[in-house]
Symmetry: none
Subunit: 155 residues, 2 copies
Amino acid sequence: MGYSDYTGEFKYSVDTKHRVNIPSRYRKIMTEENVSEVVISKGFDSNHIDVYPLPKWITLRDKITASMQLVNRTHRNFLRQFTQNANHCTLDSQGRIMLTPKLMELAGIKDNGNVMIIGMIDFMEIWDPDELEKHQENTPLTDSDFEKLEQLPLI
Amino acid sequence: MGYSDYTGEFKYSVDTKHRVNIPSRYRKIMTEENVSEVVISKGFDSNHIDVYPLPKWITLRDKITASMQLVNRTHRNFLRQFTQNANHCTLDSQGRIMLTPKLMELAGIKDNGNVMIIGMIDFMEIWDPDELEKHQENTPLTDSDFEKLEQLPLI
DNA sequence: GGTTTTAACCCATAATTACCCACAAATCTA
DNA sequence: TAGATTTGTGGGTAATTATGGGTTAAAACC
């Protein structure tokens, strides 16, 4: 991992086969880092899809399983939700991934519609455009966010 | 980074392909520092574009992501807004960068219009000329601003 | 076991972007 | 001041990218 820097926002179509393009810059980063496989999963909170390049998935998985106590009910529930909707997939020769019906449903992504892909530095998110807009409207950056920023040394 | 010293104010045109020239002195600094890539992003507060030479972007990104937890909803929301409008771009052979439609829209920069580029020591800002003038008129530095500044170490 | 469904692979094309060359204006140099 | 160089700007062309569809191979399903 290390130096991946997925940033920006891209709009792509979802075709009838549920294929979604991955931004070409992201693909370049992945080939540089010898990654041809990603894990797509339900986003932690809300209605979108997370896309983890395999190495990122592995570290995430390890962090979670390391601190996990199997006897703890909440932990078990979290683990179940975490893995349940996680699907490995490889890019096709045009650089696309195929979404599963379940994840599309969860994210409100419509067949033959569009998606927004957002870079989150070391992974990506896939959103239905309407859901994203709704979410942004509901979570604007507040003054207190910026106050927190100011507390960081030297930004 | 270290010694970059972007200063001054420049006026350039935006052509039909959304290309904007980078001041030649800035380009010289960048080649000296082996930087051929920048990240353009929505400015923190207002309606302009920030241009970070890649090393500056990396340090900024690292400071912001250092204290982030992926399982924290607020953190994720903040990270998303931070990266969403950040686009990597490389200078073309004439030393220009290409603005994205979204950032132009956010900054009020008109197709085929002009921009002002302002040096901010280790990064740059791109403004629509009218927006800049308006902003300057509305936000003169007051005495109380300077009092706050005085509380900062070593200015 | 045969049929239907599903997914991988390949090819085609339109749109977009990167790359290259050109030229006028400004700046530098001798 | 005159010539040479650099700088800002525009446009054409080749390459890349996004997207669609057809075909074969592999599952899944009676």
